[in-house]
Amino acid sequence: MDFYELTTEPIDVGENARRIVPQECGATVTLDGYVRRFTNGRETEYLLYDAYEPMAVKEMEKLVAKAKDKFEISNIGIVHRLGRLEIGETSVVISVAAPHRRAAFEACEWLIKELKSKVPIWKKEVYSDGEVWVEGSKQEKD
């Protein structure tokens, strides 16, 4: 069972990992991305995530299908949070279960990279003295 969801509720990272554990697998790799306090030395107060929701879900669905085609993995679970997020809160979690961990590591890293360059979600960083919509780059590095 795969899943790809948007939510405005806090994300439970452990639950995400355990939702996709099938009996024939041996390892799950999970990427937990969360709100940093400092970006380029500037202190963030909180973040706002906006999304083109139906397209975002469609793009996540495509990424899941592509990843399962490309890597020897069994299941994928992705949840991206929207709305206001405080420092340290999880914005995105991606879990990949596979019979062998190498494929799970590769697929998880590939998925976050693709998600960051393709899924229509935007974040606004709010500082004590201003705010800015972060613009991604199509050659997203990290």
């Binding site: 906006d50 976050i112 229509p120 979600i121 606004k124 919509w133 613009e135 991604g136």
Partner: protein, 84 residues
């Protein structure tokens, strides 16, 4: 003429001053023509377009160019995504 919906998100919503608007386009518009018309209506967006900063979607799919726009289509204009 035909009616389409146009959506903006994040920075483009700020520039356009709206998240959602209806547009009348000439029948048989291509996606290039449609988005050109839309951007020209929002001066705040032209600088973004000229820098190549905008992405375009038609009915919740990225446009690859040459699509034919139809009555009731959903178009969207946004900057490079920054989720994750």
């Amino acid at each position: 003429m035909m009616k389409v919906t146009v959506l903006f998100f994040g920075a483009t919503a700020d520039e356009a001053g709206t998240v959602n608007t209806e547009f009348d386009l000439p029948a048989d518009s291509s996606s290039e023509e449609a988005f050109d018309t839309i951007i020209s209506t929002f001066p705040g967006l032209t600088a973004n377009r000229d820098r190549g900063d905008l992405l375009y979607a038609l009915n919740r799919e990225y446009v690859s160019g040459g699509e034919e726009i139809k009555e009731g289509d959903e178009l969207a204009v946004f900057t490079a995504v920054s989720g994750g």
